[in-house]
């Protein structure tokens, strides 16, 4: 029975779906990385994702255009980010609380809209796999990496892009400065408020895309509370990834690979007790948590509202 898992086809299947499953984590956690690098902890990711998830699905369903759906998710996410930025930057609210407020809002609102506007679970034909001549034909590798939909590719392109922006550009320097020492950044003429507005809205937009990737690219349905904690895992992944895009990538891949393995075990009907299978991703969370303890240091100004001393 166990040998079934080790056959090449299954192995490729596990890896390919692992790559795919990491997509929402990547978008959400990279977005969250930007926010936290600038000193803002956004705990509302889950709510942003859920609304993005719904917006993308509903717009795609009614217009028949997936790109419009994606755009809708981005707009909804950005709007939630804008509101979050206003509350945390201008009003200097406790970030944990405002984040959970946005989570409850997004959770309830997506349910409410679903109930009013749709009522029943429907499906859409989501983003299809893209065949890349040459690359997709490579045995194994092609199936795993180059037979995915556009949002999956986007998620992986986001990682080097985020690394580049954070580490090699003036904007990235400003973001890091604002997150480490906002007073110093402020005295050098960097607008703490503007930088944080930017990172929170960017984070919201990416969370929106993360939601869309679930509803119109991976699962192609919308169900109530379909993210089921995924947004919170994304927040934790930022910590596991030590506030580095590459670290976030590692965490997201590890998590989704184990999840994929677990799903395949159930699909194949292998008599590994289902309780152990269900637990695997979580057990992994503990192990990674223990492994990362005290190895990393958070941005100094994380969760601290900035106020200029007059």
């Amino acid at each position: 029975m166990i040998t079934e898992l080790l056959s090449t086809t299954v192995l490729i299947g596990i890896l390919a779906s692992g790559i795919r499953l990491a997509t929402p984590y990547l978008y959400a956690a990279i977005g969250e990385t930007f926010g936290q690098k600038s000193g803002v902890l956004n705990l509302g990711v889950e709510g942003q994702m859920l609304l993005g998830c719904f917006a993308a699905f509903y717009v795609a369903l009614t217009t028949g255009n997936l790109w419009l759906g994606l755009l809708a998710a981005m707009i909804v996410g950005a709007a939630m980010g804008l509101a979050m930025a206003f509350v945390t930057v201008n009003l200097r609210a406790q970030q944990g609380i405002s984040g959970i407020g946005f989570y409850l809002f997004g959770l309830g609102m997506s349910d409410l809209l679903f109930q009013r506007l749709m009522g029943t679970v429907e499906t859409v034909k989501g983003f299809q796999r893209i065949y890349i001549p040459g690359l997709s034909d490579i045995p194994g590798i092609g199936e795993i990496f180059f037979n995915q939909n556009i949002l999956v590719y986007g998620a992986y392109l986001l990682v080097p892009l985020a690394w580049f922006v954070l580490n090699k550009t003036t904007l990235g320097l400003k973001i890091r400065a604002v997150g480490e020492n906002p007073d110093a950044a402020d005295s050098l003429g960097v607008s703490v408020a503007r930088v944080r507005y930017f990172t929170i809205i960017l984070g919201g937009t990416l969370s929106g895309i993360a939601g869309a990737s679930l509803s119109i690219a991976l699962l192609n349905v919308f169900q109530q509370n379909m993210t089921s904690g995924l947004g919170f895992i994304a927040v934790a992944l930022v910590y596991f990834g030590a506030w580095k895009p590459v670290g976030v990538l590692g965490g997201a891949l590890l998590f989704s690979m184990v999840n994929s393995l677990q799903l395949w075990i159930q699909v194949l009907g292998i008599p590994v007790p289902s309780d152990i299978a269900v637990m695997m991703p979580y057990v992994l969370t503990i192990l990674v948590l223990v492994a990362t303890v005290s190895r990393v240091r958070a941005p100094s100004a994380l969760t601290k509202p900035f106020e200029r001393d007059d």
Binding site: V87, L91, F105, G108, D111, L113, G229
Partner: protein
């Protein structure tokens, strides 16, 4: 002082009406009558004795969790792991009940033991988050999130593994305990006066600790300015840990009562989001323990009042969540405005 408290109250009232207005707009936008929705919610929560008893069932865990969180908040800690502490409380209680279920020990003693077991398990889980924070330097928000996932996993493992029902394991939870192991309920109603009393005593104790004891003063000192507290000779890490333990024990009690007074078994979603709601309530009452009672009651009433909405007017019961979230955001909004306003004067 009095003036600032009064203005704070007025601003919270403004926030409340702004939130109602905002949610009304949402309802109008989705084509539902806000008036009917609020009327149905009111009816659904206090329309009859039976419904109000349901509100109290929801009020008990929320109040217990809030009581605990008031302590950690006072110590300046973000105990987001409270969800997991509720879950562990439920697991601890279930474990003790299972130990004694076939024994000849008097059921009353078993119930009491099991509640203490739940409190101990909740405190232990909180101690993990506390130890990660004080010794490992792990921010309690991340440690707590991690531990929450672990607690979910543990529950699933127990329900589908060692504690699974005879024959099939299912999401409906473990085998229900015999009736003798349930806290006695008011005839015809689901509420147990015992659990109500436990929650009431808990909030009073927390009020007393924070208002009237040296211990509470030290916890608040740690929360206000950890460095100053340290320089004054308060062993700050110990007090952080104490506050985690108290909060964990109270959250554990909430989980314990969910098992002994409500579900009579362990179910996968045993915490039902009370941890996050408790964080909201604790923030809304701005550390004033006594105010936690009416606010928690109000939140519980929203929860229960919205249950009938899908049947009555094709609205989702999640409307309560929308209202709760919006309310919190508007309180933050008006509080921010008030701070600016106060500063200018």
């Amino acid at each position: 002082m009095l003036k600032s408290r009064l203005s704070g109250f007025i601003f919270q009232l403004i926030a409340f009406f702004l939130a109602l207005g905002f949610v009304s707009l949402i309802l109008v936008a989705v084509g539902a009558s806000p008036f009917d929705a609020f009327k149905n919610m009111l009816n659904g929560s206090i329309g009859s004795m039976r419904k109000f008893a349901e509100v109290l069932v929801s009020f008990v865990p929320l109040l217990l969790v809030t009581a605990g969180l008031l302590i950690t908040f006072s110590a300046g800690l973000w105990n987001i792991g409270v969800e997991g502490q509720i879950v562990l409380g439920a697991i601890g209680t279930t474990w003790v009940l299972r130990l004694f279920v076939d024994s000849s020990v008097h059921p009353a003693i078993v119930i009491i033991l099991s509640i203490f077991g739940g409190m101990a398990a909740g405190a232990l889980w909180a101690a993990f988050a506390g130890a990660l924070k004080t010794f490992g330097g792990v921010n309690e928000i991340f440690g707590g999130l991690g531990l929450n996932f672990v607690s979910t996993a543990l529950t699933l493992y127990l329900i589908f593994g060692p504690w699974k029902r005879e024959g099939v394991a299912s999401m409906s939870g473990t085998e229900p305990f015999p009736d003798v192991f349930a806290l006695p309920q008011v005839p015809d109603l689901r509420i147990s006066l015992w659990s109500l009393a436990i929650a009431g005593v808990a909030i009073l104790i927390v009020y007393f600790i924070l208002q009237g004891t040296y211990f509470g003063l030290k916890i608040k000192a740690v929360g206000k300015n950890i460095r100053a507290a340290y320089l004054l000779g308060i062993p700050t890490w110990q007090y952080s840990l104490y506050s985690f333990l108290i909060c964990g024990a109270l959250a554990g009690a909430a989980g314990a009562l969910q098992v002994t007074a409500v579900y009579h078994r362990l179910i996968p979603a045993i915490s039902s989001g009370y941890g996050y709601l408790g964080l909201m309530v604790a923030m809304l009452v701005n550390y004033q323990a006594i105010w936690a009672i009416p606010v928690a009651l109000f939140f519980a009433a929203l929860n229960i009042g919205s249950i009938q909405l899908p049947i009555l007017m094709h609205l989702d019961s999640s409307l309560s969540g929308v209202l709760q979230g919006v309310l919190v955001l508007f309180v933050l909004l008006t509080e921010g405005v008030r701070q600016k306003f106060v500063k200018k004067v």
